[in-house]
């Protein structure tokens, strides 16, 4: 009898601990989410609401803030710019990164190993050291205020991460299929295109996710290259926006909301892959 009560007691105790842990974590998460509450509530407040209290809920959601931010901030243009720069840079990264990694992973020679290490150095080198010389190169080539300057920069800058990911994956990938293709008379380009690239799909997914986010969010170099022009990307536009609307926080927050909405939508749709990508990769 007493044994049964003991088991029941232990079970009840475990249940209580479980509930307490669950509630505890939810409280922690709510505190952690406080900035998101501020974000949403401020973006939808009228100036009078905001002046009354920075914490309260909006009395009546002021959707006009969003329309205002969209029209006066040129955010539609910035959104398009960010999408173009990100898409083309990521395409370039997949093309250059996968081919380079194929050679680096498959040819075990001094030269290819040395090249691999040179690429890996780029994971550490702060872009600050080359910032001025590269800026001048872009200026002398008349590329400032163009998408091209940003795309060239983003591809070169993200390549070390991309090559690192592809090479690691390729080294673990069996060579049988490529060898079979060679026996059938396929050259290196054909077998890369037909055999290897399709096999790389899982890591290409990771590469696309990681580099899209890094490029979409990039600020410092886009500020230098396309700041103040019609080509400016979202983070740069938001930066200008903040200066323009000084203390009209409700408009600034509405504009920032427009800028992060695409990221959040993609995140909630693809969260499993995104989290896996970040867990297996390095943020560049």
């Amino acid at each position: 009898m007493s044994a049964t009560t003991g088991v029941r007691g232990a079970r009840a105790r475990r249940l209580t601990t479980g509930i307490a842990a669950e509630l505890g974590m939810i409280v922690v998460a709510l505190l952690f989410m406080f900035p998101f509450y501020v974000f949403l509530s401020v973006a939808l407040k009228t100036p009078a609401d905001l002046a009354a209290s920075p914490l309260s809920l909006p009395t009546d959601p002021a959707w006009a803030n969003v329309a205002d931010a969209w029209q006066r901030g040129g955010l539609g243009q910035a959104l398009t710019n960010s999408a173009i720069v990100t898409a083309l840079s990521v395409a370039g990264l997949v093309a250059c990164g996968s081919t380079a990694a194929y050679l680096l992973a498959r040819r075990a020679q001094r030269l290819s190993l040395g090249l691999y290490l040179v690429f890996l150095l780029g994971l550490m080198i702060p872009l600050q050291l080359g910032m001025v010389p590269l800026y001048q190169l872009m200026r002398d080539a008349n590329l400032l205020q163009t998408y091209t300057s940003l795309i060239i920069f983003e591809v070169g800058h993200q390549l070390p991460l991309v090559i690192f990911l592809y090479t690691g994956f390729l080294r673990a990938l069996p060579r049988e299929y490529e060898e079979a293709a060679r026996v059938d008379g396929a050259g290196p380009f054909t077998s890369f295109w037909r055999i290897v690239l399709p096999l790389l799909r899982p890591i290409t997914g990771t590469v696309v996710i990681l580099s899209s986010i890094n490029i979409w969010n990039d600020f410092l170099t886009p500020l230098l290259y396309v700041g103040g022009s019609a080509q400016q990307t979202l983070p740069v536009a938001i930066f200008a926006f903040r200066g323009e609307f000084a203390s009209q926080w409700q408009i600034i927050f509405a504009g920032m909301g427009i800028a992060i909405l695409p990221i959040l939508v993609v995140y909630f749709l693809l969260q499993k892959y995104i989290i896996k990508g970040f867990a297996s990769g390095i943020k560049g």
């Binding site: 194929y102 600050q128 080359g130 001025v132 060898e179 050259g187 290196p188 938001i238 926080w249 990221i263």
Partner: protein, 287 residues
């Protein structure tokens, strides 16, 4: 096996050489010159830029702040990320939702996170208001305006944004801890703390290495959030090497001096990275 021609690596090498290798080497050379924005021929000045860096108040506090930010975010974010991962690698019903929420800030543009917190931390802003509402008005601060706590506020913001990243690295690491090992330890009478200390944490060393080197290198280069939240102020209280370098180069046009600051930053990153290199190699095999 037919040899893969070196043509495969040429496009990548050209772009990487153009964007990273050439400018970095050029910057390294300019660090020893008095080059300015006006296109007069620069002349070599030896170590003069570095001597100035060690004497100038802005650069000196930037050096100190950069190291302080890097060390404190690395330690605190690792501890917090591990704690979150352990709490969410469990049977909690809400664990999937909570993981999604804790990771979300890591995806946001740092510029936007900077402005969001700039508002939250204003003297009459939401944080002070919330503290007042729960009877903690003694804790209210001028978070970014008071030189004695501005740096701590910046560090807090960085950790808020990136703790979720450390968490997902640890969650991936925890998948590799065999449950049988923990059960065996439990049968042998190991307490919960002993199992964590003697079984789980040692098996998480690769994850720790990755998480720490990521945080360390990232926070040494920190620019965006600081630049938009405080611009390095008040005074020089939150200046970092990246921010000072940017101002010297693109506001004052002192390219040589800015390159010297960047070279010092590079040396610091490499010094720290060397220590971590072995861990990174290990990780490469797993990915």
């Amino acid at each position: 096996m037919a040899r893969i021609p070196y043509a495969f690596v040429v496009p990548a090498l050209l772009l990487y050489g153009l964007v990273v290798l050439y400018p970095t080497v050029a910057g390294g050379v300019y660090a020893f010159t008095d080059w300015t924005g006006r296109r007069v021929a620069p002349s070599f000045t030896g170590l003069a830029n570095f001597a100035e860096l060690l004497a100038a108040p802005a650069a000196r506090s930037a050096l100190r702040n950069t190291l302080l930010i890097a060390l404190s975010t690395t330690v605190l974010q690792t501890v917090l990320g591990l704690a979150l991962a352990l709490a969410l690698h469990s049977s909690l019903r809400s664990r999937h939702l909570l993981r999604t929420l804790f990771f979300a800030p890591a995806l946001l543009p740092p510029v936007i996170v900077g402005f969001l917190w700039q508002y939250i931390l204003t003297p009459q802003g939401p944080l002070n208001e919330a503290l007042g509402a729960v009877g903690l008005s003694a804790l209210q601060q001028n978070w970014l305006g008071d030189a004695s706590i501005a740096l701590a506020s910046v560090i807090g913001v960085i950790i808020w944004q990136n703790a979720g990243l450390t968490m997902v690295i640890y969650l991936a690491g925890l998948q590799g801890v065999p449950p049988e090992l923990l059960e065996a330890a439990e049968i042998d009478g190991a307490s919960r703390w002993q199992r964590l200390r003697r079984v789980t944490i040692p098996l998480l060393i690769p994850a720790t290495t990755i998480a720490m080197s990521l945080t360390l290198i990232g926070s040494l280069k920190l620019f965006d959030q600081v630049y938009v939240m405080t611009g390095g102020g008040p005074g020089y209280a939150t200046e970092t090497l990246s921010v000072v370098m940017y101002k010297e180069a693109f506001v004052s046009g002192r390219y040589g001096y800015a390159a010297a600051i960047a070279l010092v930053l590079t040396m610091i990153v490499f010094a720290f990275a060397l220590v971590q290199l072995r861990g990174l190699r290990r990780f490469e095999v797993d990915s």
